[in-house]
Symmetry: C2
Subunit: 324 residues, 2 copies
């Protein structure tokens, strides 16, 4: 193997080669050159996100196929663009590759999963880097565009908390994989495993929400932890009605902590002024995105969980900390 064969194996699923210059809309120079060159849209803001998946930290080859890893790495970055309400445009991928007999096959598989998701969202690979490493790693830098990107910091006391997507399934899927491996045993279990291996970034929902959402975050580290990020950035608190979180029965049976702090859901949390809630829910329904009002932002600090009208203590673990 050499570096050029590795590049070829990676580019092929994207329909690209080292000679190809332009690889998509707005791309003046693509992965074949030293640098990528793109033409940003006039007057729009550029939204940037870097995210990384590492073997044995974020994924395990016993359960993940190479194309699952490629899909999930890009999905994680696109999910942040979705929260910002940005339209995905371009991305770069830095791969850490342990040399070995199966490196070409794995790199090709990673690219295949990534290319399929990229195509679905109109996001073009424009550059990358390969380096030797002891473990596989996939680092994605995604670039999107938006007129008025949302951040974490725009929530106000009184705003509704709108949850788009589902909580707890991905964490349950990981638990199932760890205990039973790849034998789902039922349709609902298979769906949970799929949520872990193949999360779908809610790009269309993020775009549909537009300026009706004042702040947003995607749930990657865990619902309570990510909601806490919005509270901290917006200098307010939050009250969540646990009963109004829509839960798959299989998640409810396995324990609501999976939904509250499991992580990797790639759901969206939106802060929405009361007058905009109905319009927003309508728009999201039209975009085919399940959404629910699950509480509101409040004065003060911290998150309060309410269950049957009573305060429920927060779980000890709010979410995922790489280094805790």
């Amino acid at each position: 193997m050499n570096e050029l064969r590795l590049i070829d194996a990676f580019l092929a699923p994207f329909g690209l080669s080292r000679d190809a210059r332009a690889s998509g809309p707005g791309v003046l120079s693509g992965p074949g050159d030293d640098c990528a060159v793109v033409r940003p849209s006039t007057g729009r803001k550029l939204v940037l996100k870097v995210d990384e998946l590492v073997e044995r930290v974020h994924f395990d080859w016993r359960w993940f196929a190479p194309d699952d890893v490629g899909h999930k790495a890009l999905a994680a970055a696109l999910s942040d663009l979705a929260a910002a309400g940005a339209r995905p445009r371009w991305f770069l991928c830095a791969l850490g590759v342990p040399p070995g007999a199966d490196a070409l096959r794995i790199a090709g598989g990673v690219a295949r999963g990534m290319a399929a998701l990229a195509r679905r969202h109109g996001c073009t690979l424009v550059g990358g880097n390969f380096t030797r490493a002891d473990a596989w790693s996939v680092s994605i830098t995604a670039l999107g565009e938006a007129d008025r990107p949302r951040g974490r910091g725009g929530a106000r006391p009184g705003d509704a908390i709108i949850l788009v997507g589902e909580l707890g399934k991905a964490a349950l899927g990981l638990r199932l994989l760890r205990t039973a491996g790849h034998r789902p045993g039922s349709r609902v279990r298979a769906a949970a495993i799929r949520a872990q291996l193949r999360p779908q970034p809610l790009v269309d929902a993020g775009l549909a929400a537009g300026s009706l959402a004042a702040a947003a975050v995607d749930v990657s580290d865990g619902f309570l932890r990510d909601l806490g990020h919005v509270c901290a950035a917006s200098r307010c608190g939050a009250e969540v009605e646990v009963d109004s979180i829509p839960l798959d029965p299989i998640v409810r049976a396995a324990g609501i902590e999976l939904a509250l702090s499991g992580g990797e859901d790639y759901a969206l949390l939106l802060a929405v002024r009361p007058r905009n809630v109905v319009r927003l829910l309508l728009r999201l329904r039209r975009a085919g995105a399940p959404a629910a009002r699950i509480g509101h932002f409040a004065t003060g600090r911290g998150i309060r969980l309410l269950e049957g009208g009573k305060l429920r203590p927060l779980p000890k673990r709010l979410g995922w900390d790489h280094f805790a």
Copy 2:
């Protein structure tokens, strides 16, 4: 240690905190938010590069201080922008961090080296990511802007090959570190070690060259390998007069292969139409960048080395291949 303390330690040398939103020119939302948001300049092209350094592959803690690693990771990415003739604007950094007692100290040091270089070139940190890993890794995505970015593909037979910067010193520095460690013993040896640990990206020279250079590449993988990239992309060959490559006496004494294929020089190779050569050399001199005409692009394919008027065989190894 937890992730937030790690983020704080990393942001401090940049004069940033998790609360800070805007961190520099054109930055609407910086490292404190989920995504970075920047405002690209109207009408200019965006030039993108991702590059990664990995512990034990690209650097060794026996010789590299943390701030050397931070400096070099950013320098490598800025060097590609320099070749393109782009002005550095923003960058993102994804760090792979082995948990341990010294993780905070190392992350802070990496940031310190990076921040100093970033400041010098007006390039602003806008986002990042931390992940647990078995080995340290630093992945940089650099964004620059240019009216007419140069690529590898614009050279024509007859164009002069202009070398900006020096060849062979960094490779010699690595050899010295491997054999004698951090005891340089003389000023010239110290300079070689410095070229290895602290390469300077030729950003000003790249900007000064402007449209007088038709194609460019930075020498990171090795002179012959990177020149070969330009030849391949431009569908031409090249003739290099070995005697006209300016060599430090210590590099010449250690063997010219260090200059021809050693790599990590972060010099620039420019393809320049004959009528533009004098003007370009003048401009580079004014920019304080040493430059020399070392040959020309030619019809046909492949690189020919001439020494004392005679053909000299190519060395077996043309440069650095991570996977060869």
